[in-house]
Symmetry: C2
Subunit: 186 residues, 2 copies
Amino acid sequence: MNDELSTRDRLIQAATRLFRQRGYDGTGLSEILAEAGVPKGSLYHHFPDGKADLACAAADWTASEIIRVIDDSFRAAPDWRHGVTTFCYKMAKLFDILNSADACPIFGLLFEGPDQDRFRAQAEQSFDRIIAAAARHGEALGLSPEAAHDAAETFIIGFQGSWTLARTRRKSDVLRGLPARLYGPA
Amino acid sequence: MNDELSTRDRLIQAATRLFRQRGYDGTGLSEILAEAGVPKGSLYHHFPDGKADLACAAADWTASEIIRVIDDSFRAAPDWRHGVTTFCYKMAKLFDILNSADACPIFGLLFEGPDQDRFRAQAEQSFDRIIAAAARHGEALGLSPEAAHDAAETFIIGFQGSWTLARTRRKSDVLRGLPARLYGPA
DNA sequence: ATGCTACTAGACCAATCGGTCTAATGCTGG
DNA sequence: CCAGCATTAGACCGATTGGTCTAGTAGCAT
């Protein structure tokens, strides 16, 4: 499917997709290998610590993707609410493309796994990178640094909860309704 | 530890605790059995479909516990915000008792697992039961049915996101700060 | 006591798990 | 052409997985 990607990238993307669908422990190494079309030896060459290494790489890659969507959403936004709303709509579209059953791309793959603290630290870092990216746009739109950080944190919290509810109900509306929930009717 | 509990209840509670810590796929049947002090035969007697049955029972039990906390929190509350705030403080305390690493008691154990749709349906039902319980208190405090349902949904969404952030940071403050985040400074 | 049901007990199973290891195969600079 | 490194390839490993099955025990009704 993605012949031009490097072996390493094919592994990361296959792992990301499968972890999101079935979780860390629910995904077998053999599934990842099959989906990526890569033999076992290559995995341990690129990721010496095996599955755990791969999961951290996948989490990092995912965070970067999310930040890209955030930046896209705020590029032409006249104010905070517009940026946030665009982001919600983009993510709702993604939600519908994935079959509405996957975990939140942001945090779905970040927990679980035997090496608790490594994953927790990875999650914290990814979380903070995402919040910082959103806060930066808040500042650019005139908010004070503290207000921007707070707004970003509140929004990401709401987004995380909304994705969960959207998933149980299989309805992306919950995501699109988040701005109204947080900031009142448009 | 809990000698007076029935075999069935000991299984449910051991499973709840372990699923919350390590997730569904991350928890082995043998761990649950050891923690509950129950042989394998008993499990399949009480839960013919095995692990999946047990997980659904655990989810159901957890939802009931959460509703109990909600009812407690609103018992003496003069208004919505007070009830919600009490709930957040109670849950923050629980968060500190668990070693701040567990998944949200409400939704941590509801996803993942091979039988996707069964678990999803179970999650949806639990989610709605919890929201309905909160909404009932909103109505009792004078909100219209629609307003109460909406307030409850918004709050649970925020709570779910807050627990996730609290977990990555290992700081229960995030939970206690939720009312201010949603409704402004006290 | 007897027969019946509810439950406990754990040996046993095939399948799969994550991980290691050796051999072969490019690919590169000399 | 060859030496040497990076990478691929997959056979193989012990451990553990969820699940089945048979045997035994406890408690109750008759």
